[in-house]
Amino acid sequence: MSPGIVVLVVAAISAVGYVLGRRRAVSLSASERVRLHSLPGYYGQTVALFAAVPAVIVLAAWLVVQPLLVETRVTGMIPDSVIPEGGARSLVMADVRRIADGIDAVLARGGISEGELSEMRADATDVRGFLAEVGVALGNDVPPPVFEAAKSYRQISKTGNFVAGALALALSIGFALWAYRRIAVDLRARNISERFVRALLVSASTIAILTTVGIIASLFFETYSFFRVYPAQEFFVSTVWNPQFRGGSELGILPLLWGTFYISLVALIVAVPLGLMIAVYLAEYAGPSVRSVVKPAIEVLAGIPTIVYGLFALVTVGPFLRDWIAQPLGLGNSSSSVLTAGIVMGIMIIPFVSSLSDDIINAVPQALRDGSYALGATQSETIKQVVLPAALPGIVGAVLLAASRAIGETMIVVLGAGATARLSLNPFEAMTTVTVKIVSQLTGDTEFASPETLVAFALGLTLFVLTLGLNVLALYIVRKYREQYE
């Protein structure tokens, strides 16, 4: 029984359970002339849930556990002699699995029968050639113990699948029956199903936590090894970022943080006013037809691959700023600059501000606007003093999202602002960001265990902690200024 089929059967059982449960609830209420506690559908749902959830959990657990179990069983069958020198048991196991798959393929094609298969011996048959016919390529000829192991691998997996499938079906039917029998007019069916939904909601929101844990965990160990080979103090307070290929690098984070901050700031200075004005215009001034065209159009800006923006920065904006502003003002003659990257990035993140804010502004009740208009306020006064404050939490969320995007961007920075880490106030100079350096150090040609590569993890973790701090601050501000309408 393949898991797919079991899942389908379980789904069928729970569907039937739903119908029967519902029907039973209805008929009970009719015969006892008592109102049901919940809508009949909820009774159906409880049966369906009980039919599906335990079975699916068991099945899922089995899918995880079975390979482990089978592997341990089968690995034991492989004598050390067939394990090539320098190789590992796990690799032979890969062969075993490949052969087992191959056998399945052959069987499916009807090349041989089960009986013939059990007769078959690796030393007598050319298993490799045999499997090659069904498109399963093997790296080497098959030693007999491996072939035997493959056969029993197949056998055990089959039995395992069967047992698990049977168990799942039994659970499904058993729980379904139990849930069905339990139905009574005063069964709190809605509460049961809602508790289940709630559990789903809770587990969905814990994913954020798990992701965070995962990120921290995956960054932490390498960061730790980084700080073992590189002094933490240097990293945090040094103002020089100068990695060397052959060691002896200076890896101060400050210039990178400054670049990140500076470029993101420029991007936000471009994106927030533009985005907000677009949002305001679309939500308050534009007619529905304009809005329905412009909004999705602006959203395309967020979907254009960043390489396009990067090239735009490199080829158009950078030289323009250099030739028309920086050089005449004597502010340098670099075509890559903070301003170039910031402006272009700002354009890219406009939709983050505009679209989300537009939705939120649109959700502000009309009564508030009416209240303001009736006092003789102009539309812009109303927007600035009534609508926007009421929409503030959402707008802050949108801006944070935009800022986040700006912090995480690489391509535009690389092409627009260059790769030079520098602490400078001049926006016409090239600088770079933490994210860019994470990418470049991580994908570079230096050896992995060197501080030059490991620093990427330390950069990642530091950035993570810093943005966390910023977000706490943002939350605090939003809480303070939140205006709850009604």
Binding site: P365, Q366, A367, L368, R369, D370, G371, S372, Y373, A374, L375, G376, A377, T378, Q379, E381, Q385, V386, P389, A390, E483, Q484, Y485, E486
Partner: protein, 269 residues
């Protein structure tokens, strides 16, 4: 309270007694296909209180909103006809609705305080019109408006609390205070006392009475007694039509129209 005298002296020139402040001719309002106001003609005298009465859904609020073009904000609402204030057609394309609304204030049927502090709710209007130069001026305006609306005692200790955290009746009075604070020439009040207890109602009626000396007031009310108490003229709407418009005394003693009579006697519905 203190700035009342100044305002009074200047307002006199605007409206001569025999002219009407607001005059509406052949006003039609449609919500999409629904014909909500039919051919209404009315003259509203200045410095007086006019009451609109009529059964629920007859178009009182709709007509009231026409008078300061608040209907503009309803997407599918269409107004036809001619309404003029001080002889000027307010639906003229050249008219700035903002200026109009500064002149014609409104209190809505459903209280809609801003999600701001009580103080800010009241100070908002004066601020945008630049009525106060200093913080202390603003404090005075806010205090006096809240006093007039009879809310001062209840909220004076918590002017920083959000206006949305007030009780229904308090919100209603807050909205009245808000409207009064900008001292418009005309005040439209849509059932300003619906959520108020008798004492608060009396307080608001007193305010109306006081304002009458200088302002033109239009009030929608469901209470005949209230209409009788506060208004000089009364207009009776029914199914979108203006059934009768008359001096209040006459209206409640000897109405011209049968329907008015029926309505007042409670024989409708």
């Amino acid at each position: 309270m203190s700035n009342m005298p100044t305002t009074m002296t200047t307002t006199t020139k605007a409206a001569t007694m025999n002219e009407s402040k607001i005059s509406a001719r052949k006003v039609q309002v449609f919500y999409g296909d629904k014909h909500a106001i039919k051919d209404v003609e009315i003259e509203i005298p200045p410095r007086s209180v006019t009451a609109f009465i009529g059964p629920s859904g007859c178009g009182k609020s709709t007509f009231l909103r026409c008078l300061n073009r608040m209907n503009d904000t309803i997407a599918n609402c269409r107004v036809e006809g001619h309404i003029s204030i001080d002889g000027e057609n307010i639906y003229d394309p050249k008219v700035d609705p903002v200026q109009l609304r500064a002149k014609v204030g409104m209190v809505f049927q459903k209280p809609n305080p801003f999600p701001k502090s009580i103080y800010e709710n009241v100070a908002y209007g004066p601020r945008i019109h630049g009525l106060a130069r200093k913080k202390s001026d603003m404090d005075d305006i806010v205090a006096s408006a809240l006093q007039k609306a009879g809310l001062w005692n209840e909220v004076k200790d918590r002017l920083d609390a959000p206006g949305t955290g007030l009780s229904g009746g308090q919100q209603q009075r807050l909205c009245i205070a808000r409207a009064v604070a900008v001292s418009p020439e005309v005040i439209l009040m849509d059932e300003p006392c619906s959520a108020l207890d008798p004492i608060a109602t009396a307080k608001v009626e007193e305010l109306i009475h006081e304002l009458r000396a200088n302002y033109t007031i239009v009030i929608v009310t469901h209470s005949m007694q209230q209409a009788a108490r506060v208004s000089q003229r009364t207009a009776m709407f029914h199914l979108g039509e203006l059934v009768e418009e008359n001096d209040t005394d006459k209206m409640f003693t000897n109405p011209d129209d049968q329907r008015t009579q029926d309505y007042i006697m409670g024989r409708f519905g």
